[in-house]
């Protein structure tokens, strides 16, 4: 009688619910990304350092009266923190996001995923969550922490009473910053098997559209050229959300543009992500 059977054994454990299968994909994706030491050292840690700089400013203002003559901690302060994270948002999308689907296409992993009890929605939701969690960790989470820090350190409750809406603004703006670029990254990742190509196209869109928009504005002397610029639209929406000065009517165009961009990206992903590759 052998003491341990090394052969195949049937399994009769209890299966988990189907509802959170996407989370398994997201969790595994995060694990793979966070194992890359260079990525963590060069991108994630500097993004966190930025949070500590802003946190230090709040501490200095409240504890030592630094910049006492300036009204420093305003909605603009929180807007600036979120907007200054855009560099790291782009870097995360380029270095962590661009290969998420492209690598699966390259190694034919899609047919493995979709031969399991998973839907295309589960797969896409898992990949979206992988990027979105990282991006929200450097925008929404520190933004809220900064708000809470200032609320805790300021001597009076007037800040919370009068400026509580900033919390909602941080939440909404972080979504506007992160959701369209997440879908754009994944859509580009789903159209090529080479993650370098998708990273280059993403960079071209994010960095190239401001250049193109500026050139067109100079040539045609028309404001519509602004809406070609990716960051102009984000900026216009952000300033409106935080109630800051700027082109008040810009969001009328910027919001639909970003919405259409996101919908197109979702459509591309649904077209490209299939369990069967049909070679014509």
């Amino acid at each position: 009688m052998p003491i341990h059977d090394q052969s195949y054994r049937h399994w009769e454990g209890k299966l988990k619910s189907h509802s959170f299968r996407w989370w398994i994909i997201a969790f595994e994706g995060l694990k793979v990304v966070l194992r890359r030491k260079l990525f963590v050292i060069l991108i994630l840690i500097p993004a966190v350092i930025q949070f500590f700089v802003f946190g230090g400013l709040i501490y200095g203002v409240n504890t030592y009266g630094v910049f006492a003559n300036f009204n420093l901690i305003t909605p603009d302060f929180f807007y600036r923190f979120c907007f200054q994270q855009t560099f790291f948002i782009l870097m995360i999308c380029v270095f962590a996001g661009s290969g998420l689907i492209a690598n699966d296409l390259k190694s034919n992993a899609l047919q493995l995923y979709l031969s399991k009890p998973l839907t295309r929605f589960d797969y896409i939701a898992g990949k979206v969550a992988t990027i979105l969690i990282m991006l929200e960790c450097i925008t929404l989470v520190p933004g809220i922490l900064l708000f809470l820090e200032h609320s805790a350190l300021s001597q009076e409750l007037t800040f919370i009473r009068e400026q509580y809406w900033i919390l909602g603004s941080i939440f909404l703006f972080s979504l506007i910053l992160n959701v369209p670029i997440t879908f754009l990254t994944l859509a580009l990742s789903s159209v090529t098997k080479n993650n370098r190509y998708s990273a280059i196209i993403l960079m071209a869109i994010i960095i190239g559209t401001p250049i193109l928009g500026t050139l067109l504005k100079v040539v045609f002397r028309a404001n519509w050229a602004n809406y070609i610029q990716y960051w102009y639209n984000i900026n216009a929406l952000g300033r409106n959300i935080f109630g800051l000065q700027g082109d008040e009517n810009a969001w009328h165009w910027s919001a639909p543009i970003m919405l259409i961009l996101t919908i197109v990206c979702i459509w591309i992903m649904y077209r490209k992500i299939k369990g069967v590759e049909i070679v014509k």
Partner: protein, 331 residues
């Protein structure tokens, strides 16, 4: 951890919640039923009004390139949507219960497929988790399955570094993770050396015969099918050509002879065909002849004599799976 020793069973269960022995009786009822299924890629009809019933056991799926074997597998997995008809896998409709079907089915794809940046054991455990297995169970079972497929040493290496044979084995391991009732294998021995191929075939045979998991094995390699399967299905241009038990198909055919001749080969073949004797394949001087049931060998000598041919060798031979296949696909 505690041990349970059973007099009737020589397996020790380390954790009763994790691995209870299941009476995984092979389901001899229908596992697949197709009713007039048609699947097309644009204008190309890959499955043409295919009606088919498959019972449990090991079934070989044969057919020339483009016959619709892979399309058949992907259709029953719900990866392709049929243009018409209906189909059920283990009583579940392929149009409405795709996820339930995939929960019961393991799939070994033809092409190389893996997830980059993972070790073998993590990859297999991940596949188990995607099927809904709890994390702890998935990791323990991944080790067990990798041991079963003979990848004990290589399991911690990144999959990208695996040889073609190892990649085939890891594909089999991931398909077995959630203990499927039906295993679909699409060309599982592609790219393997003879030793690895034999190991893979032994595994497939063991899974089917000892572990009571139904299998459908698609392959171009007839010896692979003959070694592992009891039944075959032959497809051609998306249509069912032959279906049945391999031994029965071989035995129901007529008497076969290998004949070596000297003389005009073509006139001899023409004369044989005129006498209803089928020439299945031929080398330069060696012919494989299938005689009608009541025919005797002297008819061969008479035809040879009439055509000025010398018969230098006449040897009875077995009707092989290759003969069944060749006759079916008209090769």
């Amino acid at each position: 951890m505690f041990l349970i020793l059973s007099g009737k069973c020589d397996i020790i269960i380390q954790n009763p919640n994790l691995t209870r022995i299941k009476s995984h009786k092979k389901d001899i009822s229908l596992i697949i039923q197709l009713n007039n299924i048609s699947v097309s890629y644009g204008d190309l009809l890959a499955l043409d009004d295919l009606s088919l019933q498959i019972e449990g056991g090991a079934v070989g799926l044969l057919g020339p390139n483009g016959a619709g074997k892979t399309t058949f597998i992907k259709t029953i997995l719900g990866l392709l949507t049929p243009k018409g008809g209906s189909a059920e896998v283990m009583g579940m409709d392929i149009m409405t219960r795709q996820l339930d079907i995939r929960q019961q089915v393991g799939y070994v794809p033809e092409s190389d497929c893996y997830i980059t940046g993972m070790s073998g054991v993590n990859f297999v455990a991940y596949m188990g988790k995607l099927c809904g297995m709890p994390r702890k169970d998935a990791i323990q079972r991944a080790h067990e399955i990798l041991q079963y497929v003979g990848m004990t040493e290589e399991r911690y290496r990144p999959i990208e570094t695996y040889s073609a044979g190892m990649k085939q084995k890891i594909k089999l391991a991931q398909a077995l993770m959630h203990d499927p009732k039906l295993l679909l294998l699409d060309e599982p021995t592609t790219g393997m050396d003879p030793k690895g191929r034999q190991e893979m075939l032994d595994l497939v045979k063991n899974i089917s015969s000892e572990k009571n998991i139904n299998i459908i094995l698609s392959s171009h390699l007839l010896p692979d099918i003959e070694y592992t399967c009891q039944d075959i299905i032959v497809l051609r241009e998306g249509k069912l050509i032959v279906k049945g038990n391999i031994e029965e198909l071989k035995s129901t055919h007529r008497i076969m002879f290998e004949v070596r001749i000297k003389g005009d080969r073509n006139s001899f073949i023409s004369a044989l065909e005129a006498n209803h004797i089928e020439c299945l394949e031929s080398e330069r001087e060696l012919l494989r002849l299938s005689l009608p049931d009541n025919a005797e060998t002297k008819v061969l000598f008479k035809i040879a004599f009439d055509n000025g041919i010398q018969i230098r060798q006449l040897m009875p031979t077995r009707y092989s799976l290759e003969d069944v296949f060749t006759q079916a696909v008209g090769g």
